[in-house]
Symmetry: C2
Subunit: 199 residues, 2 copies
DNA sequence: TCGCCAATCTTTACGTTGTCTAGATAGGCT
DNA sequence: AGCCTATCTAGACAACGTAAAGATTGGCGA
């Protein structure tokens, strides 16, 4: 048994965790095929064998993130009327806990959109979303579609704006010690009453 | 007068328009310093002189996009009660007309966040946003902050999800011939009534 | 009008990356 | 025991960002 055996044995998984380590520590721009290989302690071309190319690796990472998000949404055990709120909070919590991964999950120009594993993870997350909103119809009405879309868009938009640092000026106008979650709750309360024409 | 004079004369602006051409034609990943130089017909290191590095060029592009968006929001001449709707539509229209540029504008890891021109363009756009929502207070209340954030987030989130292709399954469930704008209108109508607890 | 200066652009060079190719290794099946 | 195939390494090449040094020229002062 050598220090570094020629065959790793579980290199594919090791590369995925190495890639996520880099993603969390150094950001998306630092996540390269060669960096993942260095982090895993293998040759620079090893990731190419398992993932084909860089979009292939990023796609598997994104699919992994989507599956984790779906699981966290599925594990919500609230009552139906509280479930929507808790799902929104879980969505934001995931984005805050995995900022770079979350942004990668919604950066389609770096992903292989036709990848089966990504497509499967996407539809799974989509079903969780519709289920949370209490819509199981095969052919929903236009109002239902607008309702589902609105709930997703407002939560997703908040997460995106927050991760991009665009809400910092707004957060600066809040009482000292306020967290982004406080602004999030205020936004949800506003959305419950009606978001337009309120002032 | 030679075919290609040594000094371009207005190379900085030419590089910016060349960069936007590439952005629109080939996407963000194809926009490199050398590609912009090729498009403008100058040496590959010329952009480095005017913009320092690649984030410098992208930052100027993003600032340009923000200024254009601000101008389009400012040009809205609707009545106060219709202004919110028209601003939302203008926001989406800008994102649809300039997809790659819009995504670049909200991709802070590729931009120089401390750039004065970017900061100025940002605060200008921010003021247009607050003005559209009818809030001019120096110290807004928490409810007002939640209200402004919600309006921004739902429109921004819709644009992001749409540009990322995430709404295509939802659009597939709509009547044939429906446009993304139709779903957008349905979402706004839903947001007006109240976005949570409707079902 | 002459000459110099500084802004502008080119050339050259180096390290890093993605990706392709050929080769090395070894686990497992017959 | 031997081979087959999956797995990993080594090497190479083009494209990229970026730095340094050189070339060009418009314009300003004497």
């Amino acid at each position: 048994m050598k220090a570094t055996p020629y065959h790793h044995g579980a290199l594919r998984d090791a590369l995925l965790t190495a890639a996520e380590t880099i993603l969390r520590r150094d950001g998306l721009l630092a996540l390269t095929l060669r960096a993942a290989a260095r982090e895993a302690g293998v040759s620079h071309a090893a990731p190419g064998y398992h993932f084909g190319d860089l979009p292939g690796l990023l796609t598997e990472l994104a699919a992994m993130g989507l599956r984790r998000l779906s699981a966290q949404l599925r594990d919500i055990k609230s009552s139906p009327e509280r479930r929507v709120w808790d799902a929104a909070r879980a969505y934001l919590a995931f984005a805050r806990a995995n900022p770079a991964l979350f942004q990668l999950m919604f950066q389609s120009d770096r992903l292989q959109m036709e990848s089966p594993s990504l497509l499967e993870a996407r539809t799974e997350a989509m079903q969780q979303l519709a289920l949370t909103r209490g819509i199981e119809d095969a052919s929903p009405t236009l109002a239902q579609l607008g309702y589902v879309t609105g709930g997703w868009a407002i939560v997703h938009g908040f997460a995106m704006l927050l991760l991009d640092g665009r809400l910092t000026p707004l957060l600066a106008g809040m009482p000292p010690g306020s967290t982004p979650e406080d602004l999030f709750e205020a936004m949800l309360a506003s959305a419950e009453k009606g978001l337009i024409g309120y002032s």
